[in-house]
């Protein structure tokens, strides 16, 4: 009897628990615990600048145009737009159902207000210069003109007109950046700096701010007024800052977070072995390159520079020195960039390093450089990785009879030294693109760009191609012209591209909809969680 009663109790309890579980499963909210690099400096997007802040802002706000999960530019608040023939005027038509998280409609005035505020010197927006192509933007930011003089006008509630001072074919790319998101004019005017507080903050993205506990997490809830809310599958996103990448790795393994925004590279082989497909390392918008001072006599011959480039074993640098945090590069413009359908690479990209050494020796011979005759100085700024990179390069150069010496410089003076036409042979530099467009990489080597043209390379054909691209509105045509420019660059080799920067993410197999892309953007609205 007692036994039966026990059985009945156990059964009833199990049933009750099971039933409870099932009921809660049906109602269970979908929570995405999302690892991020750090906390944001602020939730006022005009004052943000980092990638980690970009991830948060992308979920809170929607710009005129947005990046989908493959980083393609697609309509956001604007459902369509027209570009004038001269490329100087963009007219955006806002969607009728675009709403703020409090139910207010998103209007053209909200964008005008936000874009004027970005340039207001009092706001001190660090990325204000990204929107300088807008008429009068720079002058306003320098305090020379009033914010109302900005070339952005609301024609009516749902029509926005942006005037540019020169054609900017990558404008749409700029408009996907967090600096270009709108602001809820009414609440910012009413609350001032307090508008970013939970409870005050009104946003127009797929999610809205619920809570912000520093060093713990930022909680966002699905925005019921978002026009595409029906397709947003996650109810709550917790952005968790991880200063310690290994901590994110452990919590990922324990199933407590579904993605990590960076990798503990010292444990890369362990991760690859244990998590295989969940480790995502892809090139991002950045190139690590070695500028060569072309005006030095010994380095003036492009064949010599090409020979140096040939013998650099990029795979070794990327995988051994940088432990997979970089990827081998054979072009200055990283592949996968927007507005560049047919990327160009050095023709020895897939050749064996031994064959390349032979080819390099031949080139040097043609240029009249005998073995052991050429001696160059490799200069780098203080960092263990840069030092190891240059040490390895020195070793690779030795295989074709080029001697080299290493010179280390303190970081602060280093870039200034290169800018000021310092007396170097070869150095290292890196460039992370601000927006996804080849122009943002190729402009570095225009002859009049003395701030970044460290090699002091000057090529009339290259300059002409860059100028022509700047005046070409048709994106296909422009891409072809920019490709010609890069072709000249890779032939002349004033700077040797060696690695692309890479982004590393841990992505749970349960997290669906994640697409690797060069911008490393992954809006939570495109993701879902499967159990």
């Amino acid at each position: 009897m007692l036994k039966n009663m026990l059985k009945a109790t156990v059964f009833a309890t199990t049933f009750a628990l099971g039933g409870g579980y099932m009921a809660s499963a049906a109602l269970a909210e979908v929570v995405y615990n999302r690892g991020n690099d750090t906390d944001p400096t602020t939730l006022d997007h005009h004052k943000t600048s980092t990638v980690a802040e970009g991830h948060i802002m992308r979920d809170l706000y929607e710009g005129l145009v947005v990046q989908d999960n493959k980083a393609n530019v697609v309509p956001g608040v604007a459902e369509k737009w027209e570009i004038s023939d001269d490329g100087l005027k963009y007219t955006f038509h806002l969607r009728a159902d675009a709403k703020w998280s409090n139910g207010d409609p998103v209007t053209a005035q909200d964008f005008v207000f936000a874009y004027q505020r970005v340039q207001d010197p009092k706001v001190a927006a660090p990325y204000a210069n990204m929107l300088y192509p807008m008429v009068n933007a720079e002058a306003i930011n320098k305090g020379e003109k009033k914010p109302e003089e900005l070339g952005v006008k609301a024609v009516d509630d749902k029509t926005l007109e942006i005037s540019l001072s020169s054609p900017t074919p990558y404008l749409l790319e700029l408009l996907t950046h967090q600096i270009s998101y709108p602001l809820h004019k009414a609440s910012v005017e009413k609350l001032g700096e307090e508008y970013t507080k939970p409870g005050n903050m009104v946003t127009n993205g797929a999610f809205m701010l619920e809570a912000f506990t520093p060093n713990d997490k930022i909680v966002m809830k699905k925005n019921p007024h978002f026009h595409d809310a029906a397709n947003v599958k996650i109810d709550t996103v917790n952005f968790i800052p991880f200063e310690d990448r290994a901590n994110c790795l452990r919590r990922f393994e324990a199933g407590e977070v579904q993605s990590c925004s960076d990798l503990a590279y010292e444990q890369l082989s362990y991760m690859k072995e244990k998590m295989a497909d969940q480790v995502h390392i892809v090139p991002k918008l950045g190139t690590y390159y070695l500028p060569v001072k072309v005006k030095k006599e010994k380095l003036a011959d492009p064949r010599v520079r090409q020979a140096i480039s040939m013998v650099i074993d990029r795979d070794f640098l990327a995988n051994e020195i940088w432990k997979g945090a970089m990827q081998p590069a054979y072009s200055i413009v990283p592949p996968g960039i927007s507005n560049y359908d047919n990327p160009i690479f050095l023709d020895y990209k897939d050749k064996d390093i031994l064959d390349r050494e032979d080819a390099a020796k031949k080139l040097l011979e043609e240029a009249g450089v005998k073995e052991g005759q050429l001696s160059i100085e490799l200069r780098y700024n203080t960092s263990v990785n840069h030092k190891n990179t240059m040490t390895a390069v020195a070793d690779m150069l030795k295989s074709v009879g080029i001697n080299s010496t290493l010179v280390e410089m303190e970081g602060t003076g280093y870039f200034d030294y290169m800018k000021q036409d310092g007396d170097f042979d070869m150095t290292r530099a890196g460039w992370i693109g601000d927006y996804s467009d080849p122009q943002n990489f190729l402009f570095l080597f225009e002859s009049q760009n003395l701030g970044f043209n460290y090699p002091r390379w000057s090529n009339a054909d290259y300059d002409a191609a860059m100028k022509k691209a700047g005046e070409t509105v048709d994106l296909k045509e422009r891409a072809a012209i920019l490709r010609q420019a890069e072709e000249i660059f890779l032939k002349e080799m004033p700077a040797i591209p060696v690695m692309y920067y890479a982004s590393g993410n841990l992505v749970s197999a349960k997290l669906k909809g994640w697409e690797d892309n060069i911008m490393d953007v992954h809006g939570s609205r495109y993701l879902s969680i499967e159990n």
């Binding site: 906390d39 400096t41 602020t42 939730l43 006022d44 004052k47 600048s49 010197p121 009092k122 001190a124 660090p126 930011n141 320098k142 305090g143 970013t196 507080k197 912000f212 506990t213 520093p214 060093n215 713990d216 968790i240 800052p241 991880f242 200063e243 310690d244 290994a246 901590n247 452990r250 919590r251 393994e253 324990a254 199933g255 407590e256």
Partner: protein, 305 residues
């Protein structure tokens, strides 16, 4: 006694004043500032920022302003976390740090004294050796080794407890254990040493001669005297633990105030560092006072008036 406490509080004020002053000027001596970022900002914008944070004023004036605000309990706005004041940050973080540090100290006190007196009573037996052995081990293995190992074992492999984070049930266990273990070891060793000494003292022999039960001898007469070194050790230690541990907070991802000291110093967040200094100083002063009061209570030879 009350007079003594009041006198001590009064003497704490100049101490705090000196600490705040030294910290304020030392911070400004460090090269760089909160607005020196990787990507240089327009000088005009920097001027605007400086004005917003009162940094355009001469240094002595900034100092007076800081003191004035401090007297009103206002620690100022944070430079690096612009959505928060330093008061906000402590309001979120301090309860977390106190909770973790306080629990760790309590555990260390209870288990440490128990194990220590046990070892002392069974001196030179296997109990003694194992307590001393484990204690030595606990002291020598640093938290930055213990923390990830605990997280790996209990969080990742066994899945019994959260591997990190804050708020989920059980998320306190591993950080508290990491903090408590070495303290427990130290307390055990201190208790053992003191107990062995006290057990040989005259008043214990007298108590035994009176025929008092051994538990009375141990817990009433011996422990009261042997806990004195533990109390003086735990005062400053409690202050340190309750104001957060950088290592434990970073490894487990805990939103306490321990990390603010480092984050603030690296980001030249002057107000945040100053705030941390003030909070730690207050804790140290208060806990030292508590230790002195406990001494008067525990040790009949100590009298303060």
């Amino acid at each position: 006694m009350l007079l003594y406490v009041l006198r001590r509080f009064a003497s704490a004020v100049p101490t705090l004043f000196v600490i705040v002053t030294i910290a304020f000027f030392m911070l400004r001596l460090a090269p760089g500032g909160p607005f020196d970022l990787e990507r240089p900002i327009d000088p005009l914008i920097i001027e605007n920022l400086k004005r917003a944070f009162n940094m355009d004023k001469p240094l002595p004036q900034q100092y007076m302003l800081y003191l004035w605000n401090l007297l009103h309990g206002d620690l100022g706005p944070s430079f690096t976390r612009r959505d928060f004041t330093v008061n906000d940050l402590f309001r979120f973080g301090l309860p977390v740090s106190i909770q973790i540090g306080g629990t760790a100290i309590a555990l260390a006190l209870v288990f440490g004294t128990f194990l220590g007196s046990l070892a002392a009573l069974r001196q030179n037996s296997w109990v003694d050796y194992s307590v001393v052995g484990v204690a030595t081990f606990g002291i020598t293995i640093p938290p930055f080794v213990v923390a990830p190992i605990l997280s790996l074992i209990f969080g990742v492999y066994l899945g019994w407890l959260p591997a990190g984070g804050w708020g989920a049930p059980g998320s306190m266990v591993l950080p508290v254990a990491t903090l408590a273990l070495p303290q427990m070891a130290i307390v055990a060793r201190l208790t053992r040493g003191a107990t062995i000494e006290v057990l040989r003292s005259n008043h214990i022999r007298t108590a035994r001669a009176y025929g008092l039960p051994s538990w009375v001898v141990l817990y009433v007469h011996t422990l009261r005297a042997s806990i004195l070194p533990v109390v003086s050790y735990l005062g400053p230690t409690a202050a340190a633990l309750m104001t957060g541990s950088v290592v434990v907070e970073t490894i487990f991802g805990i939103p306490g105030i321990g990390r603010y000291f480092v984050q603030g110093a690296l980001g030249r967040d002057y107000t945040l560092v100053m705030g941390t200094v003030v909070v730690i100083a207050v804790f140290v002063v208060v806990f030292n006072l508590i230790v002195d009061i406990l001494y008067a209570y525990l040790d009949p030879r100590v009298r303060y008036d």
